[in-house]
Symmetry: C2
Subunit: 236 residues, 2 copies
């Protein structure tokens, strides 16, 4: 085997690793757009936008499948060791989390179709609106931490998940109050409760992505102690 | 390298593949027990059982981590090809689904702690009880199809997910009716709505596991057409 051929193989392998990272980044962008559109569709009761967001979820699922296949094919052909293998396997996990965030966007879009036509006072949406802003920031920060392999940024993402959980709890209680005030609010507010839950789950997936970033940067899992803090508290 | 040594390596590799399958099977058993206990804790408002189920979720998470590490270590050391690689990568996905089913059990357990103390008529639980029976059957059938690499059984599991979704939709409407009848039912019924949703998600994960079984048996993904049928219908 010539040196030239060796170099070609190495270069091509590195190109493949870069391509895999780019695919994750691209999928991250698709998913961020889906969450943005789903929440816009909910807040503005924009029927066509909700339909379009639901339809686009297939592309996100397809992207996950492509990342999976790329990762498996790289492992099979390249037989990567240590850090590269860790990166490839982590890609599979992150693509899985992103696919589930895409599902959450689809679910919020479906709910918005069901809410449409029902009259809902703007005040009902305030909490969801605030939560949406936080969630989108959280997701973007997690994807940035992952792209940059930045463990400090990853820890910051994990820490701010508490804020989202607290907001979700307060929103849950607020919506229950509206339901108790007037039974005519029950159906709509129940849909909003589930939307809020979906958004809170997006925050959980962002935390998973941040944990993956931490793992890639440090080779260590975020300690059980930290997970305890962020995962096992009682959520509504 | 002697033949004896070759045989030893092959045998040890096969032992490792068997061990990985056993770990998935063991994790499946842990998760089935968690769902059983969580739903019992809910239906009987059994506080200590709920607490124990929540505490045991850490063991399920730990099992997923062990399966992940085993799979990655096998890929790194054994450099498996084709069918073996497919089986190993699929183990990572199935362990991920099982971990999420464990999370659902934990969530149902937490809800049951919140419902406790609130007076709830037995009729409220009938739908959840029926759904629990179906879900446990579905999860067990999916795990069996996976253990036996039985694509026909896997397709049957995917087909019966429709029944669970239909039951969930009818339960959702029933609970909304109770809430509208009497505002005092709102808080409890909301918790039950989320429990029903968690159970419905267990069904979705069972479908994923069945799809993995199909893939292992046939080398093909269940067609997009089938996925369309089971995934993109509007769910409440």
């Amino acid at each position: 085997m010539t040196t030239a051929k060796n170099e070609h193989i190495v270069s091509s392998y590195e190109e493949e690793l870069t391509l895999l990272a780019q695919m994750i980044s691209e999928m991250g962008g698709m998913v961020e757009a889906a969450v943005t559109d789903a929440t816009q569709a909910l807040l503005k009761l924009d029927h066509p936008l909700a339909q379009a967001t639901i339809a686009r979820d297939k592309m996100i699922d397809e992207m996950q499948r492509r990342i999976d296949e790329k990762a498996v094919s790289m492992i099979a052909r390249r037989q990567p060791m240590a850090a590269d293998l860790r990166m490839i396997i982590t890609s599979i996990h992150v693509a899985n989390d992103l696919e589930r965030v895409g599902d959450m966007a689809k679910q919020v879009s479906r709910r918005s179709l069901q809410i449409e036509g029902l009259s809902l006072a703007p005040k009902f949406y305030n909490g969801v609106k605030h939560m949406t802003t936080l969630i989108l920031h959280q997701l973007q920060a997690a994807l940035d931490a992952y792209a940059e392999r930045n463990s400090a940024a990853a820890v910051a993402v994990c820490n701010s998940d508490d804020e989202i959980d607290a907001l979700h709890t307060s929103l849950f209680r607020e919506l229950l109050t509206y339901m108790m005030e007037d039974p005519r609010n029950i159906t709509q507010c129940t849909h909003l409760l589930f939307c809020a839950k979906s958004l809170e789950r997006v925050g959980d997936h962002a935390t998973n992505i941040a944990e993956a970033a931490y793992y890639l940067d440090t080779g260590k899992h975020l300690s059980s102690a930290v997970e305890d803090l962020h995962r096992t508290q009682v959520k509504v």
